[in-house]
Every structure is written in C-alpha cells, then in structure tokens.
C-alpha cells in the first residue's frame, strides 16, 4: 500500500506534494484517487513524487492523467517531480513522457 505524505505546506503557492511508494495499481486506485482529490482541493497544484513506486499499471497511469487534467481544469499545475524506473518505463511506453517533464506542456 502506498503511503500518503501530505506535508505541511510552506508559505506562498507551493504545490501540494504527494509522495507515493510501493505499487500504484488497480488495488490502490480507490485510495490514491481520494488523496489526489484532497490534494487538489487545496488549489495550489500538485507535485507527485513517484520515486519510490515499484509497480504501476494502467489504473495508475489513468490516475496520473486524471490528476493532470483536473489540475489543468482548476487552473493549477500537476507535475511528476520524481519517477522510479518502472514509472518512467510505463510513461514512455504509452507516450506520456511529458508528464514527468519539469515544465508541464499545455494540455491541448
């Protein structure tokens, strides 16, 4: 099970940082979506640290895509600030490498 780690935020508009580790799959998806929704509530954007993720599946990828879209719709930013090898492989495989990029490209 991934751990949610919502740090107390420093001032200014620093994005909410979510650090996930372990598997990010269909089994974790319900819980992870809740975390994402909560984090977006804050309205400061998202920084996803996926450095500790050792497994990701389509349900996980779908959450990342969802997070990006929801953030964009709310005028926020969502970034993957760190990615483990499995995450990077999965993102590259389905052409979502840009999610990891430090600067988010505009969602079309």
């Amino acid at each position: 099970m991934s751990d949610a780690d919502m740090d107390a935020q420093p001032p200014a508009a620093a994005p909410v940082r979510l650090a996930w580790s372990g598997p990010v799959t269909i089994y974790e998806a319900v819980e992870l979506r809740r975390q994402l929704l909560d984090a977006l509530e804050a309205g400061r954007g998202l920084a996803l640290d996926l450095g500790g993720v050792d497994e990701i599946d389509t349900a996980g990828i779908q959450l990342l895509v969802l997070a990006q879209r929801e953030a964009h719709l709310a005028g926020q930013r969502s970034e993957v600030v760190a990615a483990s090898a499995p995450v990077r492989e999965a993102l590259d495989l389905c052409g979502l490498g840009q999610l990891e990029a430090p600067a988010m490209p505009e969602q079309p």
Binding site: I26, A29, L32, R33, D57, I61, V65, L93, G95
Partner: protein, 725 residues
C-alpha cells in the same frame, strides 16, 4: 509451398501462376487508374498485388524481384497516403515496371532462372531511377535496399486504435501489457493515450478503464497477429486496425468514428506519429464532402473491417472476395483434360452397355443401362463445366492492347467490355486470343478514325471499342464492335475486282461486299501501318475460327462502325451428333447443322442424282452423294435419304442410305496421316465399338455448291444471297 529459400530449388508453379494473376490484377488496376486516378479500389488492389508479390518472392529467395517490388511498393505507399498524385506518366512507368516484373516471373519456368533473373535485373536500376524521380521516399528506399531485404522486407506500417471496455482492468488485463507485447512484434513508432472518456474526478471509478490508445507500429506481423494480440479484450472494446501502410484518408475516416470527436482524434493521431496535424486535417476536409458511414456500432468490436470512408478501400467487398478466394481449388489444367478424356471413354462404354442391354431384351438390364446413361450424361455436363472459364479474363487483357496501340497510333480509344461472365471451354479461350487480337487491332487501326476526323463528323473525339460475349443456343457469340468509319464498300469492291475475287459487273449486296474482306489476300488499308500489316488479317481470323467449328460475320454501317461476330461452339470435346449410314459405314453429322431429313423417292432417284440438285420447296438445294464422295462401292439400298445441312447460311443435301438417329459424339482427333483428308474432321467410337467418321460439313457443303455450279456452268457467288444481318 514446399521449396524454400536458397533459390536453388525450382520455383513452384503455384507461385508462378499466382504471380501472373497478381500482375494481371496490377495491370488492370493501373489501367483503371489511368481513367480515374483517384479510384481507391484500384489503388488498393495495385498496392496489394505488389505487396503480395514481394512477400511471396521473398519466400523463394528471389532477391532481384523482392528488391524491385520493394521500391515499387514504396512509391505506391506514397500514392496510397495521398502524398503522390497518379498521372499518365506515372501509370506509364508503372506499366513498364509491371512488364519488368512479368519478365522476371516468365523466366522462373526454366532451370537456369537464377542466371536469367540476374540478367534481367540489369534493367532494374534504370526503372528504379525513374521511379525515384516520382517520389523522394522511394529514392531513399532504393538506397537502403540491401538493409530492407535483409531484415524487414515485409514490414509495413499499421495503426491500431483501441478504446477499452471499462471492465478490462477488473478482468485482470492491463493495456500496458498489450503495448509491451506489440513492442515485441515490431517497432512502436508512437503511442498516444486518449483520456477523454475519463469522467470528472468525483464521478470516476478508479478501477474502471476509460482510456483509449492510438498506436502506430512498424511490423512484419500481419493484421491477424495484431488482431490476435487484442483477442482477450474483444468484448466491449472498440478496435480498429488500419494498414498495411494506411492512407491519410483512412486516418481521416477513423477520426470521424472516434467518440471524442474529430478534432481530438486528429490530435491523438498526430501525437502517435501517424501524420502531421495539417496533413490529417486536410484529409479530413477532403473527405468531409462525403461523410463516412459509421461501420461500427459504439462499443462494438469490429475486427475485420477498417472504418470505411469515401476514399478508403471498401473492406466489405474485399473481405467478401477473400472469402470467395478460399472456395476455389487450383487444379492443373492437364488433370482436367485427362478427366474429360475419361468421361469421353465412359460415354462410349455407356453407349456400348445400352446397346448390349437392348439386344439382350432383358427389361431390368435395359432399365439399369438407361439409368447409367442418364448419370453418365450428367457427369459429362458437369465435367465439361469444370473446364468452362469466364471470357472476362481474356477480354480484360485487351485493355492493355488498346492502351498501347492507341498510344502508338495516336488515337484515344476506350475499351468497353460486356458479358465478361460468359463461360466457354478453356481450350477454346486459349485459341481465341490471336483472332481477337487481330480483330481489336483492325478496329483500332482501320476502324477508329483519327480524332480530327471524328470531331469533323460529329462524333466524340474518343473512339470506342466494345468486346461482348453471350450465349446463344448452345453457342457462344463473341463480338468486337467499334464506332469508327465502317467499311468502305466501294473501296472493297474495287480491291476485290483488282484481286480477281469478284468479276466486274457482278452485282453484290452491301453485306456480300463486306464479307469479302475475309477472302484470302485482301487488305484495304491505304497505307501499311506497323500495327496491322498487309494482306493477312481477316482471312486468318476466319480460318482460325472455322478450325474451331465457328463462323465469322461482319456487319458494318458506313460512318457508324463495324461489328464482327464470332459464333463458336461451347466446347471442342463432345458434340451431339446425327448418325447416318452409307453402305456398311457410319458417319456423324453435328446435330446442330442438320436442318431436316427427306426421303428420296425411288422413282426420282436416278434423275435427281444425275441433276445434282433438288427443288426443295422452290429453292435449289445442291446434292452430294456421300457414297460417291467416299468411294463406297456396293449396291444402294432400296431407299435413300437426304439430310439437309446448313453451314453458315449455305445449305446442301447429303444423300445417304440410312438415318441412324442421334448419338453422343466424343470427338477424337484424326491421326497425322488423315489430317488433310477432305470432308472428314474427326472420328468417334460408337457404342458398338465401331469407328465412325465425323463429316466436315463446311468442306462438303462447299464441294456440293461447287459441283452444282460446275455442272450448271455458273460461277457461284462467294457469298450467298440469303445471308441476312
């Protein structure tokens, strides 16, 4: 296919036959493209033919063919994608290329084909260079040719578009693993995730799959392998596979089908590397005038079909054709001939059994023999039908002839084909090629006028030649018609008088004069052209057709055109015969030529035979006594009969001893020794085991008319007056 690679084994005949078929397909498609350069069906079939050729040539290690076809294919990919326009020059070049491949295929028959292929291959670079002039991409293809043959000679581009069913994840399937699998099949050029179906975060079920994928893949695996990869997600998912080497129009048609809308679909397509957004948008606009009918119901999986747009190939039809292909068995023509021969023997034996049964007087046996005879007749009909082939294939070869000749002569001529489904015996088809070629050439060269003259006489500038075929009472009629100048009867008559074919002062009808062009040594072309030479033409056609027991007739209207009709029996192997007896011998007259039978009254016999003709209801009927013709001695019976026969429009009466009735006649060719025997065209074996000779009615009728004329001292007109249009 048993032999493989190395190029040392002989190439199987099936490959050669298949290649010829593909080349014909290719040629047909090219000629279609010449008329309508955007015909998607033609482009598709052209591409398919070359692609298949390349593939199967690769299986037999025919590297020069593979290499050449590869570059050719490269150009066609451009055409298919809509990046390269088809024009006359390109069609011309592609036709030359198709000839080049045909020459390569032709040399596969010999044992030394490896050397011959290499010799031929020396011509390839020149053609390849010309191809490269049309398409920069094929130039590149020509350069990395060696690499291409080495590894992915068959690789093609495919596009897979999939919208997963919501429950795939719950069923334990992970779309990512599909991508990983596809990566093992070839090179993933690009993948785009389509997230549009994900609902708002609050409403979203995180365990459901809302994603779609657009995948661009370069692989040698075929459509089947790609379909199989998605086998397990069939239910509820929507899968579209485009390829090999999908065109822009196909992408556009796909975009139109996507649930997320055209614009978003275009972006995904562009993102996965299908083509640039601008190209896709242009294709989409181009097709917008004719919106694509949705072929797939939402959420339904449609494996076999590609989305069909106005410009995309019609998959339904090609799928149906593929299915039809599978129902054919390729059989060696020689085996069929053997079967027909055997059926002939069977007919003869069956006749023998019937005869024996009749003689035995046993009712049971007679009944059984009658039953057998019925079955044997059915077997005969069915096996003859096996050898029947539609004439369309022969006809369509003339597209090329008309195209090439038209160019040589500087005439713009279209060829129309009718009755392509009309069937006739394969052995006949083979023998019809030359006569038809002659007729089509004549029509082009002598019939169709130059464009300027056509316009001056109020005709469309483009000439028209029509090939037609239909069945008519046990015969096939093949017609070659043109809308040219028609025959100049004045010129023909003058020419015929010069050649001594007609005496000056002899009065002939228009139609009689027209038939004169079939007399030996006749030619009216003012100038000799390279196309139809001098003098030998129609008479050769006539002789060839008559050798097939057929007839030729010409019908022409000055200024409006000429029609030449060939009338032929459906088969050469078996005829319905009419058996007559003279002395102890039996003779067969083809039944269709028998008009009626008369009894020659004993009282009139002497006088009639001396006169050499009979007054048949007011008409003069020349008579021929077969007893005299064949030098049969002995006494005539008490009664003699006259069989009135007709060949073409001429009639004559044969005096025979006895009328023996109808009989199934299996034609056996005469041996070399008897080939030139006058009045006999073949032989057959009767049920009793005796040999009967088949009469050459044409020769005998002419002999009868000639003899009658000699007796009366009047030179007969060469063409009968009774000949009506």
């Amino acid at each position: 296919m048993s032999t493989h690679a190395g190029g040392l084994d002989r190439v199987p005949h099936t490959f050669v036959a298949e290649s010829r078929e593909l080349l014909r397909e290719m040629e047909g498609a090219l000629l279609t493209l010449e008329q309508s350069p955007r015909d998607p069906e033609a482009i598709h079939s052209l591409f398919r033919a070359v692609h298949t050729l390349k593939g199967s040539a690769g299986m037999f290690g025919l590297d020069p063919m593979v290499a050449f076809a590869h570059v050719l294919e490269g150009v066609l990919v451009e055409v298919r994608r809509g990046a390269l326009e088809v024009d006359d020059a390109l069609v011309e070049l592609l036709l030359t290329c198709s000839d080049h491949v045909a020459a390569m295929v032709a040399c596969l028959d010999g044992d030394d084909y490896v050397q011959r292929l290499e010799t031929l291959d020396a011509r390839s670079p020149e053609l390849l260079a010309q191809l490269a002039g049309f398409s920069p991409r094929s130039a590149a293809a020509a350069q990395d040719l060696v690499a291409a043959i080495g590894d992915d000679a068959q690789a093609a581009r495919w596009h897979i578009s999939v919208r997963f069913a919501p429950d795939v994840l719950r069923h334990g399937m992970d779309p990512l693993s599909f991508l990983r699998y596809l990566r093992t099949l070839g090179e993933l050029i690009g993948v785009a995730v389509v997230p549009d179906a994900i609902p708002a975060a609050a409403a979203m079920d995180p365990q459901a799959c809302y994603l779609g994928l657009e995948i661009e893949l370069q692989t040698a695996a075929g459509r089947r392998a790609l379909e199989e990869a998605f086998e397990y997600v069939r239910e509820g998912s929507t899968l579209h596979i485009l390829g090999p080497d999908p065109s822009l129009d196909e992408y556009a048609a796909l975009a139109r089908l996507q649930p997320e809308g055209e614009d978003r679909a275009l972006e995904s397509l562009a993102a996965c590397g299908a083509a640039s957004t601008a190209q896709l948008r242009a294709a989409l606009r181009r097709g917008a005038a004719h919106p694509a009918p949705a072929t797939t119901a939402a959420g339904e999986l449609d494996m076999a079909s590609q989305p069909s747009g106005s410009a995309a190939p019609r998959p339904g039809r090609s799928a149906a054709r593929r299915a039809a292909d599978r129902h054919f068995v390729r059989v060696d023509a020689g085996k069929l001939d053997e079967l027909i021969d055997l059926v002939g023997e069977l007919l003869i034996s069956s006749a023998g059994v019937s005869l024996g049964a009749r003689r035995s007087g046993e009712a049971d046996l007679r009944e059984a023999a009658a039953q057998l005879a019925r079955l044997v007749e059915e077997v005969r009909d069915r096996s003859l039908a096996l050898r029947m082939v539609p004439i369309g294939e022969t006809f369509s070869r003339f597209h090329r002839v008309v195209h090439d000749l038209g160019r040589t002569l500087g005439k713009d001529v279209e060829l129309a084909i009718g009755g392509a489904d009309t069937e006739l015996d394969k052995s006949m088809v083979e023998k019809l090629g030359d006569p038809l070629l002659h007729l089509v050439r004549n029509a082009l060269d002598h019939g169709i006028e130059p464009a300027a003259r056509r316009i001056a006489t109020g005709k469309p500038a483009r000439g028209r030649i029509r090939l037609d075929a239909w069945h008519e009472s046990g015969h096939i009629v093949i017609e070659v018609a043109d809308d040219g100048a028609g025959l100049d009867t004045g010129k023909i008559l003058a020419r015929a008088q010069d050649a001594g074919l007609v005496e000056v002062g002899q009065v002939l009808s228009e139609r009689q004069i027209q038939q004169l062009v079939m007399e030996p040594g006749f030619s009216t072309a003012d100038e000799v052209t390279p196309v139809s030479g001098r003098g030998v033409g129609m008479d050769v056609v006539k002789r060839n057709i008559e050798a097939l027991r057929g007839t030729v007739s010409i019908d022409s209207i000055p200024g409006a055109g000429t029609r030449v009709a060939l009338r032929l029996p459906l088969t050469l192997a078996i005829i319905e015969g009419f058996l007559v007896g003279v002395g102890r011998s039996a003779y067969v007259i083809p039944l269709e030529m028998v008009v009626e039978c008369l009894e020659l009254a004993a009282a009139e016999r002497e006088a009639t035979c001396a006169r050499g003709y009979l007054n048949l209801r007011g008409e003069v009927l020349p008579l021929l006594r077969l007893r005299d013709v064949f030098g049969i001695g002995g006494h005539t019976g008490r009664r003699e009969n006259i069989v009135v026969v007709q060949h073409g429009q001429r009639r004559a009466g044969f005096v025979v001893d006895a009328l023996l009735g109808e009989s199934q006649t299996v034609i056996k060719p005469l041996g070399k020794l008897f080939e030139r025997l006058a009045g006999i065209s073949g032989s057959t074996i009767l049920g009793s085991g005796e040999v009967a000779l088949i009469l050459d009615i044409q020769a005998l009728v002419e002999q009868a008319i000639g003899a009658e004329a000699a007796r009366t001292g009047v030179r007969p007109p060469r063409i009968e007056d009774r000949q009506n249009p």
